[in-house]
């Protein structure tokens, strides 16, 4: 798994947030556009592109996008 590719795919799930403001250090659950709908879109993106599963626990435990990447890539 490529970290920057993950970041790009993650950022693509947002409609109103400028992708250049989303970095690996972004605390994604604190983003204004974050919602339960976006959570489903992230789960779908990871299933589709990486054939891996993001659980509620992953979203709970990870604060930054990089932390979420580490959890996903270790599966």
């Amino acid at each position: 798994m490529d970290k920057n590719h993950f970041l790009q795919s993650f950022a693509e799930q947002f409609d109103d947030t400028d992708p250049s403001t989303i970095t690996l250090e972004t605390h994604f659950k604190e983003m204004e556009e974050w919602s339960s709908m976006v959570a489903l879109m992230i789960i779908a993106m990871v299933d589709e592109q990486y054939s891996k599963k993001i659980t509620g626990a992953d979203l709970r435990e990870a604060n930054t996008i990089e932390q979420l990447f580490e959890r996903v890539s270790s599966k």
Partner: protein
Amino acid sequence: MPEYSNAHVAAIAYHLPSTELTNEQLNADFPEWSVDKIMNKVGISVRRVVAENEFTSDLAVAAAQNLFQQYNLNPADIDFLLLCTQSPDYFLPTTACLVHERLHLTPSSGAIDINQGCSGFVYGLSLAKGLIASGDATNVLLITAETYSRFLHPKDKGNRSIFGDASAAVLVTSNPIGGRINKVVLGTDGKGAKNLIVKNGAMRFPKSGDQALHEDEDGNLFNDNCLYMNGSEIFNFTIESVPDLVREILERNHLQQEEIDLFVFHQANRFMLEYLRKKIKIPAEKFLIYMEHCGNTVSSTIPIAMKHALQEKKIKAGSKVMIVGFGVGYSWGGTILQF
């Protein structure tokens, strides 16, 4: 035993309560929330909700009356009533008995509730088929009816935006008309019970005095008197189980995916349906999405979508229609209807 049953879905009708809950109304209730943008993904413009004095039995009776009227059916011919609901009028008696009375069905007909959610229509067909195969019934009236709006916390914007109240009625008959019910595949995983639940108000936990809406550690809103849904877990369950379920339905019915003319999945939300469609590689023109006018109506979504497909001639003589239900329980099921 014959390879396939002689049970057929011969008639479909539905009913929506008159009170609307529009995206504009939700926007007024939750001004901080971009309702239009989110609902664009979820695929719902309006949902209907019951009035204060309107209950599951009322919705059930209205759907059955629509069915009798639209197909010129005689209620006296019904010899079994199956009512699928998780929001009954009372603990007891069975809501089916109240509906039986109001529809003036014959005293010699059976009437019973089954409690199942988003897989409930498929379960109902399976049970109706069994009643017909046993010879105990020849014309089963299957009704699905829910008033989930009563389970929702007024401040729970997510669930209020998804669920709508509705009822549907179908005639399952031994007469060879309509869609023959082929092999039904069913499944259960009670480990998922906690992820979609109304915890309080039955025997284990009485309703509490707590009126507030709380947030759990996954960011899902809850009040144990109301419906709780862990959206992430439900989504994961769905994308894991439904592709396998579709494969199993095809195998059990000795069919290839290309031979199916129309796929009618439980209308949970458009985003999830579109994702499942792509994952299972179903062409868009063979995949029905019909929920914009009523939302997720639980066990009624499949018959409501099928009714519109029949009216729009997307289902015609010769059509093989796969129906798939999945959700609360966890519970899932599917079959092929051969028209």
